[in-house]
């Protein structure tokens, strides 16, 4: 995994939104949860994947026709680094999201894995 050379507030928001989920998360759910524009979130997800913080995969749902959802999940190192990063940012108060607040992860988890 490569370190993040540029950590922006949207980056922290995306990491935080991913951490709020247990398991793979749909990219669209990250857009919704962060409240960021898709033009911000899509490149961030690709960048985090390129640097080895995330892995992505296609949803397996043979019963649902049409294109598949792209799911994102942390690598082991990525998750540790993200938790550390978020913790550091919470101390500084630099995230625009209400960090630490519970999110409706149950519904998103269902979306991500259904």
């Amino acid at each position: 995994m490569e370190p993040l050379t540029r950590i922006t507030v949207p980056t922290v928001d995306v990491l935080d939104a991913l951490l709020a989920h247990e398991g793979p998360t749909w990219g669209l759910a990250v857009i919704r949860d962060t409240g960021r524009l898709p033009g911000t979130v899509y490149p961030l997800l690709e960048r985090l994947e390129r640097l080895g913080w995330l892995v992505s995969s296609w949803e397996q749902s043979p019963g649902r026709p049409g294109p598949r959802r792209r799911l994102y999940d942390f690598t082991a190192e990525g998750k540790q680094a993200s938790i550390a990063l978020i913790a550091a940012r919470v101390q500084k108060g630099e995230s625009s999201l209400p960090l630490g607040k519970p999110r409706p992860t149950s519904s998103r988890g269902a979306v991500a894995t259904s």
Partner: protein, 277 residues
């Protein structure tokens, strides 16, 4: 009324599909498979998730244009996931930059055709609009497409921005030449603009040294064309072999596109010039 609503919805859907395909097409070849499927799914579910479809499409476009670095395709090993190589296949795979340049040339050609038909509008209020449209097709749209090509091709952000802006400026200068605000003979103007565009392209592509002199080729072609056309007999021969004047007008720009493509092929920076090939 219901029929109209359905028609509007259908048109909107087709526009969305076209924008999505454009975003996919503008992406690098390595991204297209996954982005097409991902964005299409997201668009399908945008309403239920409460995200604007326009925001999704504009996000897809900006991602395609501005984020072109290849992604490491490492999939989770969990058995619940299908690996990326199993992504549903592309119906087609097209090179972006050459398509942009081809579209620029087609835009110029269509302006020539429209100009030939302009006589039909003489004396009608539509003439001014037609004239303006022809001007845009001949100058601004090709310049914008070429600028997009530079933008996609260059490596350095500052270089690509400068190159794109210069290409757009050349389009504006060409428009001013065409309307007569800058008084230059058509062929002299076409040669200069085409050569300048070639120079911008090659410089943006990182090509340096003696190969830059190849940018003079379009100007030389323009000069040769105007000299050739000054001999009526030769023009007659050209006409007899089916080379219409409409195409002749484009020769400097075709030469510019071919020169740029040839230089790109021989450049060590070729991956930055045609990143999707």
């Amino acid at each position: 009324m219901r029929h109209i609503e359905q028609s509007v919805a259908l048109i909107a859907e087709q526009i969305e599909e076209a924008v999505l395909e454009m975003a996919v097409l503008l992406s690098t070849a390595s991204h297209r498979d996954s982005r097409r499927e991902q964005w299409r799914t997201d668009l399908e579910h945008a309403n239920e998730v409460g995200i604007s479809r326009v925001a999704l499409l504009s996000g897809a476009l900006s991602t395609a244009l501005l984020h072109r670095r290849p992604t490491k395709q490492k999939d989770a090993e969990s058995p619940v996931f299908a690996p990326v190589p199993n992504a549903r296949p592309l119906p087609h795979s097209l090179p972006t930059v050459p398509l942009l340049i081809l579209a620029a040339l087609l835009s110029m050609l269509s302006s020539s055709v429209a100009l030939a038909l302009l006589g039909s509008f003489i004396g009608t209020p539509a003439r001014q609009l037609a004239y303006f449209s022809i001007l845009i097709l001949a100058s601004i749209i090709p310049a914008a497409l070429a600028a997009a090509g530079v933008f996609l091709g260059a490596k350095d952000r500052r270089v690509l921005l400068l190159g794109s802006l210069t290409m757009l400026a050349l389009g504006i200068i060409w428009a001013l030449i065409l309307v007569g605000h800058i008084r230059l003979d058509y062929w002299l103007g076409a040669g200069l603009i085409a050569s300048a565009a070639t120079l911008v392209w090659t410089l943006s592509s990182g090509i340096r040294g003696s190969r830059l002199t190849a940018a003079l080729i379009p100007f030389a072609i323009a000069g040769a064309t105007t000299l050739t056309m000054s001999f009526g007999v030769v023009t007659g021969i050209w006409a007899s072999i089916g080379l219409p004047l409409l195409l002749t007008n484009l020769l400097p720009f075709v030469a510019a596109a071919l020169t740029g493509a040839a230089l790109a092929r021989t450049s060590t920076s070729v991956q930055y010039i045609q990143p999707v090939l």
